[in-house]
Symmetry: C2
Amino acid sequence: MKNKQIILKSRPIGTPTNDNFEFQAIDIPTISKGEILIKSKFISVDPYMRGRMNDSKSYVPPFELGKALDGGVVAEVIESQSSKFQKGDYILGNLPWKIYNQANENKVQKISSLIQKPIHALGVLGMPGMTAYFGLLDITNPQPGETIVVSGAAGAVGSLVGQIGKIKGCRVIGIVGSDEKAGYITHELNYDQAFNYNTCKDLKTTLREVCPNGIDIYFDNVGGTISDAVISNINFGARISLCGQISLYNAKEIPVGPRLQPVLLTRSALMQGFIVKKYAERFPEGIQQMGQWIKEGKIISRENIISGFDNIPDAFLGLFRGDNIGKQIVEIL
Amino acid sequence: MKNKQIILKSRPIGTPTNDNFEFQAIDIPTISKGEILIKSKFISVDPYMRGRMNDSKSYVPPFELGKALDGGVVAEVIESQSSKFQKGDYILGNLPWKIYNQANENKVQKISSLIQKPIHALGVLGMPGMTAYFGLLDITNPQPGETIVVSGAAGAVGSLVGQIGKIKGCRVIGIVGSDEKAGYITHELNYDQAFNYNTCKDLKTTLREVCPNGIDIYFDNVGGTISDAVISNINFGARISLCGQISLYNAKEIPVGPRLQPVLLTRSALMQGFIVKKYAERFPEGIQQMGQWIKEGKIISRENIISGFDNIPDAFLGLFRGDNIGKQIVEIL
């Protein structure tokens, strides 16, 4: 039984590489009263982590150089000195990228009984699922018959947003980076239409064709020129939920583009940035509802699983190459 | 007794000039049953009219080439064939730029008894006043102790926004284009601080100095680089009310600038465009409240009055030179 961790070796300038990470052999921690020893089972890699690799102020503090990166982890309790947890329990926590961690009993939570598959605690019934649920419903209040455009539509969040939009009676269009993804979200996920931004002739023209009634709601995961094209086609009273800007995360200079305020102004549109933590008190509602929709077959979730602790950095880097369909997870065997 | 009108002779490319307007002598209209003959007393010139000079879709249709421009007008009834109006009544309407107009009795309204000075129907108790009231209160929901920044702070809307912000217990900072305006809004209008963007050393640095606790609310009348600097200093949970973008209205090409979404995203900020018409049903509330504040001396309004029908184009062009302090009005003697 050996332990390992992944530390931030250097801060990336531009696109991160394997060189920014370092693997270290470490001891398995010992635990004292009120603590548990846990073994990581599923580790979540998420685009927002790119921001934490920079030394800049944001809504989460930056990763520290020379220390283990951290994020959402589902782990199994191996040993417990806590009355709250028993050996074999599955827990969810924000934990360092280590195979074995010790954790204070108050810093992690048992996976809710509403969540039947532990891996879902990192996806459809976890942070990405709650992001899709509240980021769409609370910010944009979709009405039947409205047109929703989702960028990054085959990703962890986007793949759920479109399905929720369909449940609400909207017409849903997905923008993706490959034909495989376009096929997946239209054939498997109930998206009305999808197109590949890498191969479509012209973004604005394509959007006008697939959205003949304009765009009422835009759920933005990517930013950049894709968002420019979408926003130029929004309707009066449109709502834009700003969830991610993955196309800009690796920019080396401050990205510039057409100014948006004139469009937002003349179309009385709303643009709202959010982080899902804001809705923490309402997560039980979101988990209950999403769980119900899964049972009813109205929401399909997919995890893109890579095996092996050593593959965590590459799984993370793959997010920026667009490797994943659905939620990217690393399984630790 | 002679009549005149001002027509749109040509559409401006870039900054409009006198050449875009043409004066024409016309007959005084005759009226039939259900109509009134009115003489213009006060004509409003407003920045949003620049957009109507272009042949492009917006929230109001463009002015037509060869036809009289139109806008907010306070007029006196000269002759009435309507049971709703009597000679001597003052009315408010959206009317062509003519000295004499005929109007259908259902297309204009008597000035509300809540409005004691008719000129106020075009300013503090009219469109600009309602824009300030609802654009600030409804969109940004200011809380005591928060910091509000207003651009175009000495203009028709901006001069009111700051005063409403002070009534709500906020710290209010104004950005203006001259030292005279800065002095006016701090000495006369209760703004906490103001600075001249033409002479301050660096916008971002100046903003950091005058807003040591960051910016919670931005009421944007101008757009462009001023707004870039403000938005780079917003706090988590900030709200931006998009009222105008006067610095961009005369742009010949699509203006570009730093992308805003990353800032809005990481600071969970809201940006909302609006037009005041949306609040039409609540105007009585706004007029009543603003009128009350005027009586209590909490709101001071100022009109920048130019006399003479022939000066309308120049009064309009002056908006883009920053000539006016307060609401720009042309009085027809």
